[in-house]
Amino acid sequence: MAYKIIASQCTACSACEFECPTGAIKFKNDTYIIDPKICTECEGHFDTQQCANVCPVPKTCVKV
């Protein structure tokens, strides 16, 4: 149960990093990546996935 970021689409704007309620998103090698071991798909925090909600590029933060 996790989300991932399609690196080729990512603009590296960083919005997902500070919206992520579990701190699962880090900047690595010019893009942001989601640690699947930490990501909870926001369950227990929000009804919808924050990274996907704030991402400016469609279909870039998606379910693994």
Partner: protein
């Protein structure tokens, strides 16, 4: 005709011998202190003038002398606009939101200091996208904090979509951010829904009219809060023909009622190659004439900004020029110390120069009022390198500043961007055709120099180009031209 100038703008811009520069300034005849003609407009309090007189975006007068720089430190955004594509990046594009490198707050600090050491005109540091400075707040805060410590007299300025603004107003005021620009394209959420596909607010994505309703309420709340704290505000509105063009009259009314200091109506920039929603769906931007017509209808409402160049989010330099490429990350030294010498010397010179300019403006206004024929107005294009003077060669101009001369005086009404006609020894006919098209509605072009060939071609298109007023203040030159055009000729004929 007025005497040749004692201080050329080149002397202000080139790397200079400061003692020589001061001497020239001192011998410049009418210094502001002795001449008694303040550059401050009559309808402005001394306090407000003091706060905007060095800000090129808030004062049309200041934009002839002072430069801004933008640092792209806050790339995260909380809304999507139909005129914005967040994946776009090109060094050759000059428009808002476009940037070639994003900076960390520490890189921004080094860049600002490097620019302050090299560009004496620098007076303003802005954070203006891509992204939203209020939403990506920690980086905005860190950048401003570092700069305020090193260069305390640089004005701090932000641009925001307003959604997160109410949460940041107190902190902005605490950091002495005295100028805040809010982009407000609508006050009717039904219209907003055609401009904003979604917003991200309070941990969820909102769409449609509901999204624009929230955005609208937050924008108005933020504006009211800034006005209550005495922060100067500029409202940017993107004019989108068929979507919000007529509606901007309503927007102007709303923002004026809430204390906005300036209203800046900008044309939509739309091109399929930019990959924006509007670009891809064929939504066009307004023509220069449509933009001016709307701006003219807004006169009498909130004060209009007409000198906006819609600069890049990492622009450096005077409005209309961009020296950003001289200060890219790879050219920045690791350690850099601020040296205030150049900026201080430049300010001294500008103080005396702008006193002269103000006197020249007044004289031109008086001359025109004597000469004015009711209802007779004309648009004049000026080729300038800055300083408010006719001092650029026709073929080198990347833009023309447009002034309107009428019984009200000589007023700056906008600019037209063009491609430089001169290609280093020869001119392109196709480029000249584009220049002529850009000068729609303009009767006269004033420049420092122009060749016979382009001059004849302009004349064939009904535009009279002249280098007779080279190096004079635009207002002085246009005042004389106006008198010559509408009054001089008949009077001479009678005599």
């Amino acid at each position: 005709m007025v005497q040749p100038v004692t201080i050329s703008l080149d002397s202000l811009l080139a790397p200079v011998d400061f003692d020589a520069m001061k001497l020239t300034a001192a011998s410049g005849g009418c210094a502001s202190s002795s001449c008694g003609s303040p550059a401050r407009p009559e309808d402005m309090t001394a306090d407000v003038w003091e706060r905007i007189k060095d800000h090129p975006c808030y004062s049309e007068e200041a934009h002839h002398y002072f430069a801004r720089m933008h640092v792209a430190v806050a790339p995260a955004c909380n809304i999507q606009c139909n005129y914005c594509n967040r994946k776009y990046d090109c060094a050759n594009e000059s428009r808002p939101g476009v940037v070639s490198e994003k900076l960390t707050p520490d890189q921004a600090r080094r860049k600002v200091i490097a620019v302050a050491n090299e560009v004496p005109q620098l007076s303003v540091l802005g954070i203006a996208g891509p992204g939203d400075a209020c939403y990506d707040w920690k980086k905005t805060q860190a950048t401003f904090g570092a700069i305020a410590k090193h260069i305390p007299d640089v004005k701090l300025c932000i641009s925001t979509n307003g959604l997160a603004l109410p949460d940041r107003v107190d902190e902005l005021a605490d950091m002495n951010v005295d100028h805040v620009t809010i982009t407000i394209n609508m006050v009717d959420p039904e219209i907003g829904a055609k401009i904003y596909p979604w917003i991200y607010f309070r941990n969820r994505r909102w769409t449609g009219v509901e999204a624009s309703q929230i955005l609208h309420e937050r924008q108005m709340q933020g504006l009211e809060m800034l006005t209550a704290r005495g922060v100067l505000t500029k409202i940017n509105s993107v004019m989108i023909p068929g979507v919000n063009d007529e509606h901007l009259i309503e927007v102007n009314r709303w923002v004026k009622a809430r204390g906005a200091f300036l209203h800046n109506v900008m044309p939509l920039i739309s091109d399929p190659a930019h990959g924006t929603h509007y670009g891809l769906t064929g939504q066009r931007g307004p023509t220069a004439t449509e933009l001016k017509a709307l701006q003219d209808r807004l006169e009498g409402g909130a004060k209009l900004m007409r000198h906006c160049r819609q600069c890049r989010a990492d622009a450096v330099g005077l409005l209309g020029e961009d020296r950003g490429q001289e200060f890219t990350l790879d050219q920045l030294p690791e350690a850099v110390d601020y040296n205030p010498a150049k900026r201080a010397a430049y300010r001294e010179i500008v103080a005396s120069e702008r006193g002269d300019h103000a006197a020249a403006k007044q004289a031109a206004a008086a001359a025109i009022q004597d000469a004015a024929v009711e209802g007779q107005s004309m648009l004049v294009a000026v080729a300038t390198k800055g300083g408010g003077r006719v001092n650029e060669h026709f073929g080198h101009a990347k833009e023309f500043q447009i002034y309107e001369a009428s019984s009200k005086g000589v007023v700056f009404v906008g600019h037209r961007k063009v491609e430089s006609y001169c290609m280093g020894g020869f001119g392109e006919d196709a480029t000249l055709d584009a220049v002529i098209a850009a000068l729609e509605g303009v009767r006269h072009v004033l420049c420092a120099k122009i060749g016979d060939c382009p001059k004849d071609m302009l004349e064939a298109a009904g535009i009279e180009a002249s280098a007779a007023y080279a190096y004079e203040y635009a207002e002085t030159a246009i005042g004389a031209l106006y008198a010559e055009t509408f009054v001089g000729a008949p009077r001479q004929a009678v005599a």
